[in-house]
Every structure is written in structure tokens, then in C-alpha cells.
Symmetry: C2
Subunit: 217 residues, 2 copies
Amino acid sequence: MNTDAAGTGTIAPMDSSNTRRDATRRKLFEAAVTLIAEQGFSSTTVDEIAERAGVAKGTVYYNFASKNVLFEELLRHGIELLATSLQAAAEEVTERGGSQVDALDAMIRAGLDFISRYPALTQLYVAELWRTNRAWQSTLMVVRERAITVVEDVLREAVARDELSGEIDIPLTASALFGMVLVAALDWQSYQPDRSIDDVHAALSRLLQGRVSGRPS
Amino acid sequence: MNTDAAGTGTIAPMDSSNTRRDATRRKLFEAAVTLIAEQGFSSTTVDEIAERAGVAKGTVYYNFASKNVLFEELLRHGIELLATSLQAAAEEVTERGGSQVDALDAMIRAGLDFISRYPALTQLYVAELWRTNRAWQSTLMVVRERAITVVEDVLREAVARDELSGEIDIPLTASALFGMVLVAALDWQSYQPDRSIDDVHAALSRLLQGRVSGRPS
DNA sequence: CTCCTTGAACTGACTGGTCAGTTCAAAAAG
DNA sequence: CTTTTTGAACTGACCAGTCAGTTCAAGGAG
């Protein structure tokens, strides 16, 4: 019954690390995200999550109504981190008078930062995003929307300012750019983790700015 | 013991659709790929797979050593389809004297074709590719290698012919291109399935050829 | 053509184990 | 005091894998 576990008695601060309870919840999120990224949702047991978080199983159910709810809240919590960071990167550039293409570039950088900071979370989104018929599908659609919109907005503004051709397909280009960064970053993390983020960023920038098909000299 | 159930009395044809057994295996592949794409590996039961294939559970175990093995063979079977089709597309262009950039474009098209023909298979690869600590991880590395190499080869040849800048990072660019097509196509299938493949192809071509940042007129 | 034989292919009830979710009394924290 | 955590015991559903028994199709034999 009591889904409102956050204690609405006081105006809940949402994110800050005030109460003991919040600390526990954060430990559980962290434990769950790595385990689920590694093994998938179904093969991760609640006992495992509790153990990795250093907490009793009963505590999990004191803090979350179910395994499903824990996961959904995890998804929602994660996307805020990503969308906020992308938006901040874009706005920072725009406010300093940079071009929208520069803003895109800054978002690529922010995306890479995010993925290298939260690889498990990213892996988990990728695994779930295009899956159908799952309990948390609606949550995922919101999550996707939240992230893609940020990219689309910048593209739209770029077209408005004549920085990009008006013929580009905004939603599709946004997806493609998103995918480009996502897959390149995951491969980087998985197969060449030693490379610097600047290196990776430079390669993707080049691709974005169409300098790939330009002649060398 | 007897894994060699195909009857080695005659020189086994390997792939053709001769025997009753092959037909059964194909039905099982088809059933498994959709179910696993929808629900994930762990939450898909062998009973479900058997039922969807119109076959008894025992038959699954007569044809495959385990659920894991069924899945691994499915992965291997699928990647052959993809790699072959990408390679064919690239070679066809090259042999007709086209540029390597044209070959890349043809591969994008072939990739889109593949994804629209086998959406479930694609979804399944995406979900599993960057996961760690799974039983079939080594199979997946082979699978990934097989696909990425095709793209890298074309990029390398393009650099050799001076069509692309020698400064591009071949593995990373290959990943990025792969991701661009993958994510754009999955989004297309999931959220705008009505659009024509030509439409999607055109948008991605534009992105590849750097015409995005060119001015409209 | 019909009857038999043979081995491969298939069947589905059954088993042993696992796991999500529940409950609760008692302890710790604040 | 209240809120939160503990940890262990329990339940009921679910599921991978097994195996003794059945069906099928092809190739003689008469």
C-alpha cells in the first residue's frame, strides 16, 4: 500500500542526502545498477542486491515496494543525471555565444563523461531501451524522450540559425548522433579503456563536423 | 554423449534445409529470437520457446544441449547473415568501380535492410553486446569482431585511396558509424515505422557525407 | 502393393532446485 | 518515544533439465 516511502510529512527534498533512509536507498541503487547491468534484470536476485549493498533483504522491501519498483526508480533517477548534464553542457556553450554546432560538440563531450562515469547505468539503458512488452516500458519511453529532446532542441535551433541545412531530419539525426556517441563510448569502455576521453572526443567531433570525407591536405 | 545427431553417415550438408531436424531447429530459432528480444534471455522460458515453435519441450533438448547453447547458436547464425550481407554490399560497389565512400553508403543501406528484416535479432544483439560476465561472452566478442571488421576494412581502403583523411581513427569511426545506423534504425522501427527505408537512408547518408553542417543554399 | 523393422525424432509428465515476496520479533539509531 | 534496520524462516510459484515411452519415415521383404 504505502508506495510513498519517501516520507511526505516534510516537503521532500527529492535528491539530497539527508536521512539515513536516503543513504540506504542510494546504496541499493548502486548495488542494483551494477548487478543488473552485468546479468540482466531477471537473473539478478533481490538477495544479491541486498548483499552487495551490505543490507538485509528485509530492508530492500522496507524501502521499495518490489524489485520492479526499485528498478523503475533507478531508471528515473539515472535519466535525470544524463538529461541535466547534457542540457547544462549545451546551455553553457549557447550562453557564452557559441554556435549550436559547438553546443552539439559540448553535448558529445558531456555524453562521453556520463558514460565513463556511469558505465553500468548506460549499459542497462541500452539493453532495455528498445525492448517491448516489459512492465516498465512506459517509464522507458519517458526516459528516452527526456534525453532525445535535448538533442533535438539544439538541432532545431541550429537550423533556425542557419547553421545546419533546413533539410535535415531532426528526430532521425538526433537518434543517429545519440547512437554514434553511445556505441562508440561503449566500445571504448569495453575494448580500449586505456584511451583518453579527449582522444575519443576528437574522433567523434571529426565525424560530426564532416571532416572525415575531406581530403588530408 | 552423441552431440553429432545430424547423422554423419553421409557427408553432412551443414546448412541446407534437407532434414526434418533442420526444419525443427529453424522453427526453434525463430521462436527463440522473438521471445528473447521481447523479454530477455532469463525471463524467457524453454516452455515458451517450445510452445511458440509448436513443438514439445523435449524436442528443444533433443536438438540443443541446453538453453544456453540454443542461444549461442542463434547468435552465431544471425551474425553470419549480417556480416555476409554487409560484405556483399560493399564488394558489389567496389567491383563496379565505385568509391569507398559509396561502399560505406551501400553498407548503411544493407544495415537498414537487415534491421528491418530481422528487428528482433538486432534488438537482441544490442541488449547483449556490452554486457559483462555472461556465459556466452566469448561468442559475442567473435560476433562483434565479425561485423566491425567489415566496416573497418572499407574505412582502411578508403584511407589508402585518399578518399578519407588519414587522420581518422579507424576502429572508433567504425564503431560510431555502426552505432549511428543501429540506433537510428531501432528508433525508426520503434517510433516511426511508417517511414520508408529510402527516407531513413537519405538522412543517414547526409550525416555520413558531412552535408549536415553545409549551408542550405 | 502391403507388412515389418529400424533408428532418428519427438513427446510431456515429472523432479529437484531456485527465488520473489511476506512476515515478524527484536535490536539499533536518532 | 518513533523510525529504520536486521535476519531468519516460510510459502508458493516457477522453471531447467530428464527420461521412459511414442511417432514417423524410409527401406527392405514377401
